[in-house]
Amino acid sequence: MASPCEVLVDTDDEPTARAALDAARGEALRIEHKFSRYRSDNVIDRINHSAGKPVEVDEELAGLLDYAATCHEISGGRFDITSGVLRRVWTFDGREHTPDPAALAAALALVGWTRVSWRDRTLTLPAGMEVDLGGLGKEYAVDRAATRIAEVTASAFLVNFGGDLFASHLRRAERPWLIGVENPATPASGHLGRLQLARGALATSGDARRFVLVRGRRLGHILDPRTGWPVEGAPRSVTVMAATCTEAGTLATLAILRGGDAARFLEEQGVQHWLLE
């Protein structure tokens, strides 16, 4: 997951807390092993080296691909799990870089969910294309870990994987969970706000840690797959609240992909959100 992960359980019973932690860790590791693009022994690696041949996938991956396809459609093509190859063209280390136009054009030719064949549980990628579930994986892992924890305890709990979190229900004596929304400009101190969460999920998307300077202009790391460039005018940070972490994370990403329209998009959707421009 490449971020600190924690599980909070509202109980006095240590074996229960351990069981919850084991359940969450097991599920997080399972999902990472199965869907990480950095591994050479999983189905994602097989797909990314399939050289144009069809690959049959299992029920879980099929569910994720269906979800990604729906997001692609809802966002008018801005949300695209094949856009991972564009990372080769950019370096988000906070320093000045300019992308090579030829390399960018070549990479763009390998981007586009519409070029992929996805039907009957079979995925066929043209040679050279890749799928990257990194934009969905962490939030999906939060929701799955929450389901596993609920199987081993009825106590209230909160799962937080690197800032994407889910709370199951109110703590004992009807007390909510207290969540601080981090200020990306000063991550170590000073919260933007505090909220009381009874149940539900929060996910944050933004460029607090990864950005690039192009001719003196600061650009975030979320790329528009239609142009190959970072999204223009996007807020520094977007936090969204929803019933599940998957939904919250997708809404936050869709908002950033709208660039300067992020605020209006989130208002139209009627979700609770916090923006930092």
Binding site: T70, T250, Q269, H273
Partner: protein, 432 residues
């Protein structure tokens, strides 16, 4: 830097589509976890039931059930129950204006006076055990088998059942089908009574067999995030000895209307029973509302309606309360009689057992459940009050006695000689 905090406005279509897509994704069945499994575990439930009918039967029934969950959703359950029943049961005889004597099958006798319903005392101890196994077949189908056994002084029963359920339409709908078979033996104390013969006719020794076959089908559907609806239908065929061996019917003198003799009851040796049940579970913000309606009919002419409602309300995260109301109305079997007139030809079948009569009951109760902090087990305490009465009971002999002052309604026709029944159940469930 501009910071915004916004409040929700009506949902729009992107959010709805996303919500539905996320729901679909997360509702998909999960593969077995590589590192952790659903921890197999045990669960023990025990209950103690105390049941008292005003002036009649008292039952004390402790039960225990042990369930073991295995990985992959398999489960084994073993249940044991002991009933200790003491008290008095109505014989089916009519109340009289005179002292009336009844003898019980254990040789003791009792006397009742005036308008009390004649009863005879009895004592019985019943042991019952059942065993069940649940086996998931793939991720959408599950099968369960069960066997049960019970034994008391004059009745033994053994049987088994099979049930399977299938989830379809993305797990929104569950279809269930089941079948059961029971083989019973009735061996009344003192021998079997001869149907519709005078009650002092010598009884026939030996066993009487009875077979029960049941089939059921059901469907349940998730209507919305908050609402679950279900319907089941079942049919049961009973064959064999279906008469109650201790019930009698009073023969009344055609002129005085006083009971002067008694005959044993007699019921047909076949019974076909059907019922349909509709059920609803609705989840409000905090509370859950359960409602069931059942319509029953059989080929003995009995028809009944049952309406049952409960609301579960959480008082805190450690305790809850559940009030309960149940209303029941039954129309009698075609051969049900309050009494027979002496001298007239006897019908083919007859019974004065009030459980086959025009019965009404109203039950009010509540359950309180709580956990002791730091402890895994859950306690439940349930109290229920039931009022039970027969409609259309003929006037008792008191009304025709000259001792009664004019205008006294105590023996009037159609009176409801109701019974008050109280139940207390204490339960304890603990996983380990």
């Amino acid at each position: 830097m501009r910071v915004q905090l916004a409040s929700p406005s009506p949902a729009s279509s992107v959010r709805q589509r996303l919500g539905a897509a996320a729901c679909l994704l997360l509702a998909g069945s999960m593969p077995a976890a590589a590192q952790t499994q659903l921890a197999p575990g045990w669960q023990l439930e025990t209950t103690g039931l105390f049941y008292g009918e005003q002036l009649r039967a008292k039952v004390v029934e402790p039960t225990g059930r042990l369930t073991r969950q295995f990985a992959n959703g398999r489960a084994l359950s073993l249940g044991l129950a002991v009933d200790a029943i003491t008290g008095a049961s109505p014989t089916g005889g009519l109340p009289t204006g005179q002292v009336q004597t009844t003898t019980s099958s254990s040789g003791r006798s009792s006397t009742t006076t005036a308008d009390a319903v004649p009863t005879h005392p009895f004592q019985d101890l019943r042991y019952a055990a059942d065993l069940g196994w649940v086996e998931p077949l793939g991720s959408l189908v599950s099968a369960s088998t069960s066997a049960h056994f019970s034994q008391e002084k004059d009745y033994a029963s053994i049987g088994g059942g099979l049930k399977t359920s299938v989830d379809v339409l993305n797990r929104l709908v569950t279809l269930t089908a089941g079948a059961g078979y029971n083989r019973d033996r009735v061996f009344p104390t003192g021998g079997t009574a001869v149907g519709l013969a005078p009650d002092d006719t010598p009884r026939i020794p030996g066993d009487n067999p009875k077979e029960v076959r049941t089939g059921l089908v059901g469907i349940s559907r998730v209507v919305s995030r908050r609402w679950l609806l279900g319907a089941t239908g079942s049919q049961t065929r009973e064959t064999g000895y279906l008469t109650d061996p201790y019930k009698i019917i009073s023969l009344t003198d055609p002129e005085t209307q006083l009971p002067v003799a008694q005959v044993n009851e007699k019921r047909p040796s076949e019974r076909l029973r059907d019922d349909v049940l509709a059920s609803s579970v609705y989840h409000f913000e905090q509370d859950i509302f359960y409602m069931n309606y059942r319509y029953y009919w059989d080929d003995w002419g009995v028809r009944s309606h049952t309406l049952d409602m409960k609301v579960r309300h959480d008082l805190s995260s450690e305790s809850w309360v559940q009030p309960h109301v149940r209303l029941y109305a039954q129309s009698p079997a075609s051969f049900f009689v309050f009494g027979l007139t002496q001298g007239r030809p006897l019908p083919e079948f007859a019974s004065a057992d009030e459980r086959l009569g025009p019965l009404r009951t109203a039950t009010f109760g509540a359950t309180y459940g709580f956990r002791v902090p730091g402890h895994r087990g859950e306690f439940t305490l349930r109290g229920e009050y039931m009022y039970q009465w027969l409609v259309g009971r003929p006037p008792t002999a008191i009304a025709s006695s000259t001792n009664t002052p004019a205008g006294d309604d105590s023996g009037g026709g159609g009176q409801h000689l109701g019974t008050n029944i109280g139940t207390i159940l204490i339960g304890y469930t603990v996983p380990f």
